[in-house]
């Protein structure tokens, strides 16, 4: 019984660590390319986040299942093979059911393959832990990634278009409001600077805590 409880605690800790202590974007600085590229609006960011969660869970399950059979020098090859397969599936799914999103995200969906988060989790967690822990870790990490992405995208979309999730929050001059869209926020500049400031903010908060 006591053993069970400590197990539960460590599981929930694994789950939560992905959101803050080991947040892949803000703390570990992993997976920066999609973070910067798809966060011009919340919708593509959310789609990206969910795709990453899907790929992360699947690859963690597969890697965890075959962790005892892995030969060290063929390990990375196995990981990339599994990841590439699931990314292709995710890509086909988006093309079939969400064609609009698929054309917005374009090549950034296949680029999930080289997203360091996934290979890093496969290496650091799934290849050493049983399947349940691996899944929970995947959900936690993926969730942390998605939330960070959406937060960043929310800030950028708000300033770039005055809307969040395509719902107009600040009225633009075209509709009689005062907010002049800040187009730079939708461009690469906005991505880099917003993320830089967010990292700075994270540093301040974590230092106080």
């Amino acid at each position: 019984m006591a053993n069970d409880k400590s197990n539960d605690v460590s599981l929930s800790r694994t789950f939560i660590s992905g959101f803050w202590n080991e947040n892949p974007v803000l703390r570990l600085l992993l997976g920066m390319c999609p973070t910067l590229a798809v966060t011009a609006a919340v919708k593509p960011a959310l789609t990206m986040g969910l795709s990453v969660i899907f790929v992360l869970i699947c690859s963690n399950i597969v890697v965890s299942l075959m962790r005892n059979l892995l030969k060290p020098h063929l390990r990375i090859l196995m990981f990339t093979l599994a990841i590439a397969t699931f990314v292709t599936i995710a890509d086909l799914f988006l093309k079939a059911f969400l064609p609009e999103m698929s054309s917005t995200l374009g090549p950034y969906i296949p680029l999930i393959i080289v997203n360091c988060i996934i290979i890093c989790r496969a290496e650091a967690c799934a290849s050493k832990n049983p399947i349940v822990v691996s899944i929970i870790d995947a959900v936690g990490m993926g969730g942390g990634f998605t939330i960070t992405l959406c937060f960043l995208a929310g800030i950028r979309e708000l300033f770039a278009t005055g809307a969040v999730f395509e719902i107009q929050v600040l009225a633009t001059p075209e509709t009689g409001g005062w907010f002049v869209p800040w187009a730079a926020m939708g461009m690469p500049v906005g991505a880099f600077i917003t993320l830089g400031l967010m990292l700075g903010l994270t540093n301040i908060i974590s230092k106080k805590a």
């Binding site: 920066m32 390319c33 999609p34 680029l111 080289v114 730079a184 880099f192 830089g196």
Partner: protein, 196 residues
């Protein structure tokens, strides 16, 4: 003459106008990680240029001569990543065996390159841009590598000077690098639309 002009324009466009780092956000991880010192940055840039030229060419050949005629586009991503991983391994072995001095200077970066998004990204973009001859594919891949080297060296130069300046405590390290990169993209945006 015409071909030469197309190639030259394509090269300049991929180095400056459509620079992978500044306009497509590819290769940000090494861009932030290795841009601390200018010699390391240059080594990384050389390694990336080497691998990207090789894998860009190879994937173009596989894509156009094997996958498209046979209707196997669905396995494109798997093939690409395996080609890249293979190319990196080969290059590493070859360089270590025949050019030990070269290996000492940039060999340590080679394994990292497999997961460099710039490489896979370029292979995908070449496919997306509809490049239809081998020579153009080679030139564009090489140009992308040069573009990456350019970006990472500029950044490293700035960061070496940044060490001496008074940066607020919370922004030290990655945050200030990102902000600097943001300002750099702003500068590079001036080239946008110069070549179509």
């Amino acid at each position: 003459m015409d071909t030469l002009q197309v190639l030259l324009m394509g090269f300049i466009s991929v180095v400056i106008v459509n620079n992978l780092v500044f306009t497509k956000f590819l290769g940000i991880c090494p861009y932030l990680g290795v841009s601390g010192r200018i010699d390391m940055a240059f080594g990384m840039g050389c390694a990336v240029t080497f691998v990207v030229t090789l894998s860009g060419t190879l994937t173009w050949m596989i894509d156009n001569w094997i996958l498209m005629p046979w209707g196997l586009e669905v396995t494109r991503y798997v093939c690409f990543i395996l080609v890249i991983a293979g190319a990196v391994q080969l290059v590493e072995m070859y360089v270590r065996k025949f050019f030990p001095t070269l290996y000492d200077s940039f060999g340590i970066f080679l394994p990292l390159i497999t997961t460099n998004c710039a490489i896979l990204g370029l292979c995908l973009f070449i496919n997306l841009w509809g490049v239809d001859n081998l020579l153009e594919a080679v030139v564009l891949s090489f140009g992308a590598g040069i573009g990456f080297t350019l970006a990472i060296c500029i950044m490293a130069g700035i960061r070496e000077n940044l060490n001496l300046s008074d940066v607020p405590e919370c922004l030290k390290g990655a945050p200030i690098t990102l902000i600097t990169a943001g300002l750099l993209t702003l500068a590079f945006m001036g080239f946008a639309g110069m070549i179509r």
